[in-house]
Symmetry: none
Subunit: 203 residues, 4 copies
Amino acid sequence: MTLELRKQPSQARSKAMVDTILDATARVLVERGYAKTNTNIVAELAGISVGSLYRYYPNKNALIHALQERHVGKMLGVFLNSTANMTSEGSLAGDLKALIDALVAAHLLEPELNRILEEELMTSYHIPNNDVRQKFFAGTRVLLNRHRAELTIDDIDLAAFVVVRILKVLVKNVVLPVPAGVDASKLQAEILPVVLGYLTQSR
Amino acid sequence: MTLELRKQPSQARSKAMVDTILDATARVLVERGYAKTNTNIVAELAGISVGSLYRYYPNKNALIHALQERHVGKMLGVFLNSTANMTSEGSLAGDLKALIDALVAAHLLEPELNRILEEELMTSYHIPNNDVRQKFFAGTRVLLNRHRAELTIDDIDLAAFVVVRILKVLVKNVVLPVPAGVDASKLQAEILPVVLGYLTQSR
Amino acid sequence: MTLELRKQPSQARSKAMVDTILDATARVLVERGYAKTNTNIVAELAGISVGSLYRYYPNKNALIHALQERHVGKMLGVFLNSTANMTSEGSLAGDLKALIDALVAAHLLEPELNRILEEELMTSYHIPNNDVRQKFFAGTRVLLNRHRAELTIDDIDLAAFVVVRILKVLVKNVVLPVPAGVDASKLQAEILPVVLGYLTQSR
Amino acid sequence: MTLELRKQPSQARSKAMVDTILDATARVLVERGYAKTNTNIVAELAGISVGSLYRYYPNKNALIHALQERHVGKMLGVFLNSTANMTSEGSLAGDLKALIDALVAAHLLEPELNRILEEELMTSYHIPNNDVRQKFFAGTRVLLNRHRAELTIDDIDLAAFVVVRILKVLVKNVVLPVPAGVDASKLQAEILPVVLGYLTQSR
DNA sequence: CATGAATGAGATTTCATTCAT
DNA sequence: GATGAATGAAATCTCATTCAT
């Protein structure tokens, strides 16, 4: 009964604008943190008026949401790309190596933004990339299953969970500024041993 | 007969008041998230006026800061307590096990608050417990050094860094709500193998 | 063979367009109320661009104004039509009956729109149909004058004023949703007695 | 689970402030109409800051609502007061006269505000005084019932409905600016004959 | 002429902080 | 010292109107 048509800007022009807006949002978010991010600044940095911003996203929430989705999408793209030429008959070590490299590549995209979206906003917004997380977990499970013979651990679900968490922190730390005394590239090289050691140690 | 029924010494009063305030802050933070936390609600929940709140803490920043410090202090207390009866001549496995248990005990204190203080506020507030982190890292380094002979890894700094990160995520995940299909206690039992596997695998 | 398939004469086009626009305006007004009516929605519902809307009406005021005028015109049309075959030598009762029926017919047109235009917008817009009101009042005065002999009231102006007001409310209530327990058709039948009773009672 | 305590300003201080605010709201409403009424102007006219306004009323809606309630309350007070010394054994004419006088007295309070609250806001807000309307209708029904013997109409509900509507318009018109050529006091004197004529005419 | 994205003034609302009592 | 009402700067959001295409 209520008239509710709210016109979205047309596809063609939108694409560029949307990107400009989300770029600005990302920049503000990274430079000032969520608490100090506001729509006026985003609009200004995007070089548009607040009104325009609200033509594209009906509220601040939607804006952040869209940024999250774009970011996750980008990372997923990089990840899948890095993974594409990965034959499925590699060794466990080879597969894990490829996985780690792909993950690092994906996280190299916009590490600080990624951190903010994952950490600062965890509470505020229902994370839209649960989907991606789920898929990543599932993928890891499949990988482990394929090499089940070599593993010294029985509970694949548990192992996948642990591996996913480990990969996530370590990769993030490879990519984010790391304390003096630690070398990022050495750290990256260390990830495979960590996971391999865990999965194949004699128990 | 001197008047004995006078106000408590301000020291004592402050002590209790400070705790009440920080308790309220913690509760609001956990129940509403940082974005929806405001000083008026904190004061209300603490059962005092905003004015009084500002007598104890000159601004919102200081308030959050104080809460962080108290929280870190508490966790440190629990940790040190769990560590106290740890003789320094244990095996590597034994030492690590004790470390993990102490960490879990500390994180069991107020997991959600801990998460918020560590994640949501990372950007906004310069973490006051860098100190503690430093010490924890150093302690881990010492521990690893003590068992250097058993380790298959040379770079102790790197190893300590990796171990610290792994311990942190996994412990956090033991303590925080975990996805269906994963069992928190099994997860906890898995931490030692992870670290041990990493440190002592044949390379 | 001259090109015959060209644009319709702008007169004709305008005519249809104007109607489309005012129809949309009316619908939005009725469905959302004045406070939530805005030009963008009107344009959208009319199937044209805002720009075009502003080509037809220079501002929101003019738009509402035009709708009012059209609406009043329509009602007047229906009213005059119902009145057309009314011979001027009827009885007082007959004349009043005809008047009431014509009024009801007119108000049956778009009761809700009518209500909004008359009530919600009374303050914001100087009503353009004062003219019509004036004429209606004058007509009523003439009618009463014709039957002055039967009336027990001397002040015809006063009587006409009272009758006009009574007719207006009651007719409106016949036509608008009426509370449970009251029957609209019975209510309509009651209007004549009310007016007749007033005008011809023994004083 | 969510902390929702929102403190209302304390009783004592509130009373005066609330009145000041609602007075200002009424004035703005009458002077500018609803569409042009905004919280900034209300606050300014009330001599307080917007923030303060929002301490008392959580949003614009609530503000208007409160004004409506106060206004209806006031009118009801005047009405009941005028009605107080009305013995229940009067004649029909006497009772109706008293009723009309009480109504006029009530509407004399703030006629313009009343009009705006009743007309401009009918759509926007669920009218809080349905209650009062109900009671007024019921009271009228009781009155008519008491004098049922004298009435020439059977359907008391219908009669009460009609009488209530007639009283409402005419009283309103007595109190609101009336077109030249009509005298407000004469008009008021005319209300009783209208109603009496309707109820007691020979049919 | 038509379009509809863009504008930006202005409206609503929030909340850290102050200060009179 | 305590209080909590008051503040007002700043954030979110709306929409009549314009103007480049």
